[in-house]
């Protein structure tokens, strides 16, 4: 059955997905994801409803809420074409560091929303000694003051740095694939896909949870979007953050149009069907791409985690709006340490 497309068998892909993913917990293959991405707008509501059933069955009704903060902003030597923090483009984002008291304040604010996760992010190729020192001090200060899990996203790591982060008590590490392998060279030229995979694998083996996702809407084909879903599924991350391109002024992708909402929602559902047991998080670009109505559709179409408040360089919704929506949808906030 694997690899056989719906067209080839004459079977409807949503029927196949219902039996295979919902019924047996077997993720969709790359070809099957592509079939889902090719379904028309007239199937969107059925698709979202199915993805929601899958999420409820394998992940339950709760939603993981996370806050993120930039410890070191801008001036990154890498050239990820979607990113306003690269020092290689004429983006207006300037380099700035957050101090430890402000980091702790941000963690406290995040915890006050009921969030269980606080992710510290730095715009770097990989950490240097100064950044690792800041992390050690910052993570200790947060743990002493706030009841929240600390995650990190600091670029590519050495084995020694992986061990150090484990030692600090960092429980989850974010390192995205960004795009499917075949599209990746169009997005990043300063490092390779395999270098990214190396860090992801080291993180998994360390016992930290791996958070690994990507962006869609960067001009990739539907095949390449399906490829990203399949490559993520193969890595089996604990969490997949899904970003919709938010075209940043001055970056090579700055003039691309934002994704169509229906396209974005189809992608959400398709990723859920490829990753039935993974936390699937709304990350950047949801306000721009989906707005309020789309946010709600996605939460009823496979998403079970959100970022609350602002992003690294852009602003998010007021957390009260997100929390009120979760309340209305009867989706409790996932408690600290709660797993499935």
């Amino acid at each position: 059955m694997h690899g056989m497309t719906a067209q080839a068998t004459g079977t409807d892909i949503l029927d196949v997905a219902r039996e295979q993913v919902l019924g047996r917990g077997v993720p969709l293959t790359k070809e099957q994801v592509l079939d889902v991405l090719r379904t028309g707008d007239d199937r969107l509501q059925d698709l979202l409803a199915l993805a929601h059933e899958v999420r409820l069955r394998y992940q339950g009704p709760s939603v993981e809420v996370e806050g993120i903060v930039s410890l070191k902003t801008g001036g990154c030597p890498e050239d990820c074409h979607f990113c306003s923090q690269s020092g290689q483009f004429t983006s207006p984002v300037r380099s700035v560091w957050l101090n430890i008291p402000e980091l702790v304040r941000a963690a406290k604010q995040t915890a006050a929303t009921g969030a269980s996760e606080f992710c510290i992010v730095a715009a770097v190729r990989g950490p240097d000694d100064r950044l690792m020192e800041q992390m050690r001090e910052g993570v200790a200060a947060i743990k002493a003051a706030v009841d929240i899990e600390v995650a990190a996203s600091l670029g590519m790591l050495t084995q020694h740095q992986v061990d150090e982060l484990v030692d600090m008590g960092v429980h989850r590490y974010n390192h995205n694939l960004e795009a499917g392998r075949s599209f990746f060279p169009r997005v990043v030229t300063t490092h390779s896909y395999d270098e990214r995979l190396d860090t992801c694998r080291m993180v998994k083996e360390s016992g930290m949870e791996l958070c690994c996702g990507g962006l869609v809407g960067m001009g990739e084909t539907l095949e390449q979007r399906a490829e990203l879903a399949a490559q993520l599924a193969e890595l089996e991350p604990h969490e997949v953050p899904l970003n919709f391109l938010n075209p940043r002024p001055g970056t090579p992708f700055g003039d691309l149009p934002p994704m169509e909402p229906a396209d974005a929602l189809r992608t959400v559902a398709a990723f859920r069907l490829a990753l039935p047991r993974t936390i699937l998080r709304y990350a950047g670009g949801r306000e721009l791409t989906l707005g309020d109505l789309g946010t709600r559709d996605g939460l009823l179409g496979g998403i079970n985690a959100v970022i609350v408040g602002n992003y690294l360089t852009t602003l998010g919704r007021d957390p009260r709006e997100d929390l009120a929506l979760l309340d209305e949808l009867e989706m409790p906030i996932r408690a600290l340490g709660e797993t499935f």
């Binding site: 993120i68 902003t73 300037r94 304040r105 408040g309 992003y311 360089t313 852009t314 602003l315 007021d318």
Partner: protein, 81 residues
């Protein structure tokens, strides 16, 4: 991070209305207008000082942003109610 209270008065603050657009850095009276910039301000902190057009150092946190011009000081805005 907020502008120091000891600064002599005539120094304008980055949040005040000025000659330049904080979003795109172009002149405010530019015929093209700044409607898109105004809309973008909902989802973006300012990047340019409205008084001198310098690029500012901007720190975003989950519930606030702080923008600092080396000449005209800082402004901090809470984004949570």
């Amino acid at each position: 991070m907020v502008a120091d209270a000891g600064t002599p008065e005539p120094v304008p603050r980055v949040g005040d209305a000025g000659a330049w657009c904080g979003q795109c850095g172009e002149a405010r009276d530019d015929a093209a207008g700044h409607d898109r910039c105004a809309a973008r301000a909902e989802l973006e902190p300012p990047r340019f000082c409205v008084h001198c057009r310098r690029r500012m150092r901007v720190q975003v946190t989950p519930g606030a942003w702080t923008a600092t011009c080396s000449r005209h000081g800082s402004v901090e805005r809470s984004t949570w109610s």
